[in-house]
């Protein structure tokens, strides 16, 4: 025990409070001011171990209070702050400055495919509508409810574990080229949440959900580009979940 502690102490001493200068290049848009979006650069001193969200806060709090973005938990569990950082969808609170090459300007834009309302804030309603459309709740047909819990084996529980992790951040859906071209497509997040119920041994509406996803705007639109899986901050294998839903549609076994 003693050795690793000592090593750590030294490592921390070496790394602590070392500030660097970075440029944030942010896509600004405020229809109250102008109909056009513009890029704006901000320079700040920041510890590279801090989050992109910390950088945005520094700008908002010390430089320009009009910069607008959503955030709440600041550690990757509420799903508020998905944005395009250096061209990739990520959570600003889960991305450290040092991990995205701070030597060059860090570009920050709103996620794509949803209407931009102000700066980094987009209209999430169509996203949540697609989610609601897949009936994201447990449906059972029992006429008399059990008095105790329903039983479920640990294996059956494991079957849909991956898709229970979703925080509805929209990083996947807004990274999908099919969704960009056609907002009618349900998008990966809705399919992930359908998967969560289709593969839950307690649920009895799998057929209904599959019918919904069999629709013209459903799973068959997916072209397996894996953007969604790359984007997911929860590490969900989104493409795999979509593939499993496709397979279930063909075999009707789930």
């Amino acid at each position: 025990m003693a050795t690793p502690v000592l090593d750590k102490v030294e490592a921390e001493a070496a790394a602590s409070d070392h500030l660097i200068t970075v440029t944030f290049r942010i896509r600004r848009f405020n229809p109250e001011v102008s109909a056009d979006a513009v890029w704006e650069d901000f320079q700040l001193e920041i510890d590279p171990k801090e989050r992109v969200l910390d950088g945005l806060h520094k700008i908002k709090w010390d430089i320009d209070g009009t910069l607008t973005f959503r955030r709440s938990c600041a550690h990757g569990i509420c799903g508020s702050d998905a944005m395009r950082i250096n061209g990739k969808n990520r959570l600003a609170c889960k991305t450290l400055i040092k991990d995205i090459n701070p030597a060059k300007p860090i570009t920050v834009e709103p996620i794509k495919g949803l209407t931009v309302l102000k700066d980094l804030v987009v209209d999430m309603d169509p996203f949540f509508q697609a989610y609601r459309d897949v009936m994201p709740f447990l449906i059972t047909k029992d006429t008399n409810e059990p008095t105790r819990e329903r039983l479920q084996s640990a294996e059956d529980r494991e079957r849909f574990d991956d898709t229970t992790k979703c925080i509805l951040c929209a990083a996947c859906t807004s990274s999908c080229p099919v969704f960009w071209n056609d907002g009618q497509y349900f998008g990966p997040a809705a399919i992930v949440n359908a998967h969560r119920f289709i593969f839950d041994s307690r649920d009895e509406a799998g057929e209904q959900r599959l019918e919904i996803l069999n629709d013209r705007d459903g799973v068959w639109r997916c072209r397996t580009t894996f953007n969604c899986t790359d984007a997911c901050p929860r590490g969900i294998e989104v493409t795999k979940a979509i593939q499993e839903v496709k397979r279930a549609l063909i075999t009707r076994r789930f």
Binding site: P31, T68, F69, C73, F128, F137, K165
Partner: protein, 584 residues
């Protein structure tokens, strides 16, 4: 300005608000107003679990759970309420399972349970497995499951609506709730919601501390709104400091990590909790562990160049166990510290975590205007409320329970009340306060900045009213808060627009934090004893003779407009258990 009319209005869409909404939507026309999209609420951050004496894995019963809750709260718990909490826990968990919550399972398919600090068999004999959980994502699963069921029930949400004022109308000498005033983030428009019943479920207020596990949005808006209208706040001096927050950031690492076998160590690698709590060691109650950590730090055994933290060591646990039981928190260590918990200890420090105090209610969730009088039409549940089931210190896993039990109760009670009454007339000019507050901030040319004041507030709170308090430190905080409240009058904002003006809302939130910080500090100054989360170095013992009572803080406004805080006290409800010394 728009006026809406609903039977029931719920403020907040975290666990408590959505559990209430599921009940009240079935029974009355309900609107849920929430400043965040429901799934963004901080209930989603809860990790460890939800307590219920299901006895799925070993003998247990609700009476033992009641006892643990009362003892854990250092006997400041109202015992009638604790009994309801523990009894209804069982159905609360089973209801969630039926709604679809994916709990971890035992080999025979029932809900699995694990240990958590302070939960014991037979009145303290040995730890008991009482916490129902879903890996270290229990809160996430509760929040998602409740939202899913709100979608199923067709609950009507007004997302990104900030409630900024509570409306009270006097009818025949009785002050009744008549509705709320809300600000719509997208447009800047002001909405009046006239309602027969209003339920506050707006969560905690941890953001007045710097190092905290709480979200940026936990700014005590609900507590501040009712307090400003002359209603009391109960036991605000009691705040829980969780032992294991990530160093400097405050992000929580669940107690479940120590439940799984994790050990706290100082710079010499010593397992120091053996000195402070020989029996329960690292799993002693949260207040005890937090004080022990700070004692190590103060006595020069802290880690790092500044000696300002200690380590949570998980390196002796098998990686498979970490992956299966603690996947999220181990990922936090990797993401935010670049530390691999399989091989390296994690730097931690106590983090401001949970408000035991809040808006006083009875067990039906009805809000009180003094020690006994109910405010007709006004309800509260969840972290914003003080029932009081947590007393001076909340046990881990009892809050996820609280939001479900008392969220449900408040939802039913409010909707049923709404059926029996007519709308109460709105006060004249209901939006007056909010309109002038916003106008003032938008047009102010003062030279104070929100971020600066907030930072100074957080620093003074961390330094003076955190784990250790003395008359001297609390007075320092009271003076500083008074200064900040003065300076707040000169706050100006840069964003003068109407659309998504989060600059404006942060200023309003800061105002709420300042009001509540003052209540906390003043309540703490008057409580000259140590109990649960409130530790006075100058009065290190519990004093049941003088302080076995709840604090009730009221805002008073003098004829000349000067504000002050009046403290009163409320008896503790004791039924079965006589106060004993609390040992772990």
């Amino acid at each position: 300005m728009k006026i809406h009319k609903y039977d029931t209005v719920i403020v907040g869409a975290g666990g408590a608000g959505m559990r209430a909404a599921i009940e009240s939507t079935k029974r009355s026309r309900t609107a849920v107003l929430t400043k965040l999209y429901p799934t963004r609420s901080h209930t989603g951050a809860a990790q460890g679990g939800m307590a219920a004496a299901l006895a799925n894995v070993e003998e247990d019963n609700w009476e033992w759970h009641t006892f643990d809750t009362v003892k854990g709260g250092d006997y400041l718990v109202d015992q009638d309420a604790a009994e309801i909490l523990a009894k209804e826990a069982i159905d609360a968990v089973l209801d969630l399972e039926k709604m679809g919550l994916p709990f971890n399972r035992t080999p025979n398919g029932t809900i699995d349970q694990r240990r958590f600090g302070g939960h014991s068999r037979n009145h303290g004999e040995a730890p008991v497995r009482r916490s129902c959980y879903a890996a270290d994502r229990t809160g996430h699963m509760i929040l998602q499951t409740l939202y899913q069921n709100c979608v199923k029930e067709g609950v009507e949400f007004f997302n990104e609506f900030y409630v900024l004022d509570q409306l009270i109308t006097e009818v025949d000498g009785v002050s009744k709730s008549s509705g709320v005033v809300a600000y719509e983030l997208a447009t800047g428009e002001i909405h009046i919601f006239q309602a027969k019943a209003v339920i506050y479920a707006s969560g905690g207020t941890g953001k007045f501390f710097k190092v905290t596990s709480n979200a940026h949005t936990l700014t005590g808006d609900g507590q501040a709104a009712v307090y400003r209208r002359g209603l009391p706040l109960e036991d605000m001096e009691f705040f829980q400091f969780h032992p294991t927050g990530i160093w400097r950031m405050g992000i929580l690492l669940t107690e479940g990590a120590r439940g799984e076998g994790g050990i706290l160590r100082n710079k010499d690698g010593e397992r120091f909790m053996e000195k402070y709590a020989p029996v329960m060691k690292d799993l002693a109650s949260r207040d005890v562990v937090s004080r022990s950590i700070y004692t190590e730090i103060r006595e020069g055994r802290g880690c790092g160049p500044e000696g300002d933290h200690v380590y949570l060591d998980l390196t002796h646990l098998p990686p498979e166990q970490l992956d299966a039981k603690l996947p999220d928190i181990t990922e936090f260590a990797r993401t935010y510290l670049g530390i691999e918990p399989y091989t390296d200890p994690i730097p931690i420090q106590p983090t401001a975590h949970y408000a035991m105090g809040g808006i006083p209610t009875n067990v039906e969730g009805e809000v009180l205007s003094d020690n006994t009088t109910v405010v007709p039409g006004l309800y509260a549940a969840g972290e914003v409320a003080c029932v009081s089931v947590h007393g001076a210190n909340r046990l881990g896993t009892n809050s996820l329970l609280d939001i479900n039990v008392f969220g449900r109760r408040a939802g039913i009670a409010a909707a049923e009340y709404a059926h029996t009454v007519d709308y109460v007339e709105l006060p004249e000019n209901p939006a007056e306060f909010v309109v002038s507050q916003i106008e003032q901030l938008r047009t102010s040319t003062g030279n104070e900045r929100v971020a600066t004041l907030r930072k100074e507030l957080q620093e003074t709170m961390d330094a003076n009213v955190m784990v250790f308090r003395t008359e001297q430190t609390i007075k320092t905080a009271v003076e500083k808060i008074a200064e900040l409240r003065e300076r707040y009058k000169n706050v100006s904002i840069q964003d003068k627009g109407r659309r998504f003006n989060t600059d404006l809302l942060e200023a309003i939130e800061l105002g709420n934090l300042l009001d509540l910080a003052e209540v906390m500090a003043v309540s703490a100054l008057a409580r000259k004893e140590s109990r649960g989360g409130h530790y006075r170095e100058d009065y290190p013992n519990r004093d049941d003779v003088n302080f076995m009572r709840h604090t009730m803080a009221y805002r008073e406004v003098g004829d000349d407009g000067t504000e002050s805080i009046r403290l009163d006290y409320k008896p503790v409800v004791q039924t079965r258990y006589q106060p004993m010394e609390r040992k772990y």
